[in-house]
């Protein structure tokens, strides 16, 4: 089953089990442009799988109104970049509603905002903004890396009673992988993707696959890298990360997002505060993603980057500059 089909199945099962679950967004009636809603309008009808106008602000805003009044909307934004047209609705409305109104209402909506570089699509279609949403109280933020987790985490997100920013990856839709029957994945729990002893490498989304490739290669070179697939960005699995980092004595965080003020900073800062061990980050340079492949590649964090950074880190004293 591929990543798109896995999400589709989780949504279909949720819709079968609970009449309150609806889906809405542009092009969902024809299955979504990535096939992530395939067959759903046929099964559940146009009243529950709702084609909408190109009105991102109102797609989210209406979902808030739906959620407050008894539905559990799953909201399609196509890519996180377009959700920037609906930020008031996500941040000022969905995220704050429960608090601002003293718990009178709840906003159980799932907003699908895929992240990542979408090859050849350039600056306005290639952003990874998970750090933004982690910064906003009231939101849960999820970023599945595999078909199994896209199944399990989407199911969990629909169950969650609060707004979930559900960040699939723009280029994982076709990824094949096994989805064990009745597979579950809990919000806030990371996955130990590969055990290791010299270095803890924390990452999420598509880069998990790059990290695993790097770890495999590093092992050949005698460096044992533990790879953690964070899966949830908020809440993030501090326990697993801190335990692993305490054990290996070194932490590296890698993400596709721009490194500056990315979520890697939160993890690195936390580990530095809590454990005082050496930390490193590997994120994208602070440049927009360019169109030409050479430019796009300059904005990518590759398996090769992670391999080199890991080996260099393990063989260093842990600080980048000496204190004069």
């Amino acid at each position: 089953m591929n990543y798109a089909q896995a999400a589709c199945q989780a949504l279909a099962e949720a819709m079968r089990a609970d009449a309150r679950v609806v889906a809405l967004g542009e092009d969902v009636g024809r299955g979504g442009i990535f096939g992530q809603y395939r067959g759903l309008q046929q099964e559940f009808g146009a009243a529950r799988v709702i084609d909408t106008p190109i009105s991102e602000a109102t797609i989210i805003g209406a979902a808030v109104g739906m959620a407050l009044t008894g539905l559990r909307p799953v909201v399609e934004m196509r890519v996180v970049d377009f959700a920037l047209c609906a930020i008031d609705e996500i941040v000022n409305q969905a995220a704050k509603n429960r608090y601002m109104f003293g718990g009178q209402g709840r906003v159980p909506l799932v907003a699908r905002l895929p992240i990542g570089i979408w090859s050849g699509s350039a600056a306005q279609h290639s952003q990874s903004l998970e750090a933004w949403f982690a910064h906003i109280p009231g939101l849960v933020v999820v970023a599945p890396a595999t078909p199994a987790d896209n199944y399990g985490l989407l199911a969990a997100a629909i169950q969650c009673g609060d707004p979930v920013i559900y960040m699939e990856h723009k280029e994982l839709w076709g990824l094949e992988g096994e989805v064990p029957p009745q597979h579950t994945a809990a919000l806030g729990k990371a996955r130990l993707a590969r055990p290791g002893t010299d270095l803890t490498l924390v990452t999420w989304s598509k880069l998990v696959h790059g990290a695993l490739a790097a770890a495999g290669e590093a092992a050949q070179q005698g460096v044992s890298v533990e790879v953690i697939d964070l899966r949830s960005i908020w809440p993030w699995d501090r326990d697993m990360v801190l335990a692993s980092a305490a054990r290996t004595g070194r932490l590296m965080v890698a993400h596709e997002a721009v490194q500056a003020a990315g979520f890697g900073a939160e993890i690195a800062a936390t580990v530095a505060e809590e454990l005082g061990i050496p930390v490193r980050r590997a994120g994208a340079p602070r440049i927009p993603v360019g169109y030409a492949r050479t430019l796009e590649d300059a904005a990518r964090v590759s398996a090769e980057n992670l391999l080199q950074a890991s080996i260099q880190f393990v063989s260093s004293d842990g600080r980048k500059r000496s204190i004069a």
Binding site: T58, G61, G65, L68, N92, Q93, Y99, G102, Q104, G105
Partner: protein, 345 residues
């Protein structure tokens, strides 16, 4: 309070008196809120001190009460309402308890929002009041979604969506009306046109013939009404609400009124001319209604009694709010979210 029909006061007089009562309660509530808000906010050159009971920006609907009263008289408790930063009137008219509201304005744990929202976020979900909003026009999509939900759930609830004349220049106005119409949703859009957007006369910022013309351009039936004439608002709303309940889809009401006070309580509104305000005061909705009541043969004493009742109610609300406790610090950490709620992480 159910209308008390007697031979001396024929039904239409009683109905008007009941509308008047709603307006009088709003007026009394807001006068009290204004009184207790002095020193509460730093804006328009004012400095905040720590003594105010009502803190932060306080937006009064003084002079606009007929819109809230006239529209909400046609709503059921099970209907929904979304409002703006200027939402006390809508909330009271929808049936919220004035004591719980005053507690909220005082930031008390027993307020409608447990002290978390204040005036600008006043809400009472139990009576279907889904919230004031600090962001202009942001209530529109939420209202539309509530109506969409009612339709999907097969509920008979309708939604009244209030917004100001300034809001018709923000994107969600277009998006929300379009959405409501293509899905034929049960929403009454109410543009409460008080002629101002903060310090700006809205007219100069608004192209074309205004709210109703825009609504029609998006395919919605639209009516314009004298928003200071509570009977006119009531009659128009009755008609539009009846169409909505009959499955006629979204309707639009443009109510012309006037913002008698400044934008917020500390705004002296020195940017507009006093003559304009004075002539507007001539058509104060309570004044108009009490003249009409007199014409209907309702005694001045009866009207004064209603005024007095309203004041008494609000005095009691004030006293209760004064006596009520503030939330504990720890309560700041509740109602955030179930998964991932913490203090710092």
């Amino acid at each position: 309070m159910p209308a008390n029909i007697s031979a001396a006061n024929p039904p239409h007089a009683e109905h008007l008196l009941s509308l008047y009562r709603t307006m009088a309660r709003i007026r009394a509530f807001e006068n009290a809120a204004e009184e207790t808000s002095r020193g509460g906010v730093a804006v328009f050159g004012a400095t905040a001190d720590a003594t105010a009971l009502v803190r932060g920006p306080l937006h009064l609907s003084t002079g606009q009460e007929a819109v809230a009263a006239g529209v909400c008289a046609n709503l059921e408790r099970s209907d929904y309402l979304t409002s703006t930063h200027r939402g006390h009137g809508h909330t009271l008219a929808k049936g919220a308890d004035s004591t719980a509201m005053m507690c909220e304005l005082f930031g008390r744990a027993g307020g409608t929002n447990k002290g978390k929202g204040g005036s600008m976020h006043i809400a009472d979900f139990v009576v279907g009041m889904l919230g004031a909003n600090g962001v202009v026009a942001a209530g529109i999509p939420i209202a539309v979604g509530a109506a969409h939900s009612a339709k999907i759930r097969g509920s008979s609830s309708i939604v009244a969506c209030f917004f100001g004349d300034g809001a018709i220049n923000r994107g969600p106005f277009l998006e929300g009306l379009n959405w409501a119409k293509i899905f034929e949703l049960p929403v009454l859009f109410v543009c409460e046109d008080n002629r101002y957007s903060a310090t700006t006369a809205t007219d100069a910022m608004t192209a074309g013939e205004g709210a109703a013309a825009r609504a029609r351009g998006i395919g919605l039936p639209a009516e314009t009404v004298d928003g200071n004439d509570v009977l006119a608002v009531d009659a128009a709303a009755r008609e539009l609400v009846a169409r909505i309940r009959a499955g006629g889809g979204p309707q639009f009401l443009h109510a012309l009124t006037y913002r008698v006070k400044g934008h917020v309580s500390v705004d002296a509104a020195a940017y507009r001319n006093q003559g304009e305000v004075e002539s507007a005061l001539e058509s104060d909705p309570l004044k108009l209604a009490s003249r009409r009541l007199a014409a209907f043969g309702v005694s001045a004493a009866r009207v004064a009694e209603v005024d007095a009742e309203a004041r008494t109610e609000i005095e009691a609300a004030l006293a209760a709010a004064r006596a009520a406790r503030s939330p504990e610090s720890a309560e700041a950490y509740a109602d955030v979210q179930d998964t991932g709620a913490g203090q710092w992480h």
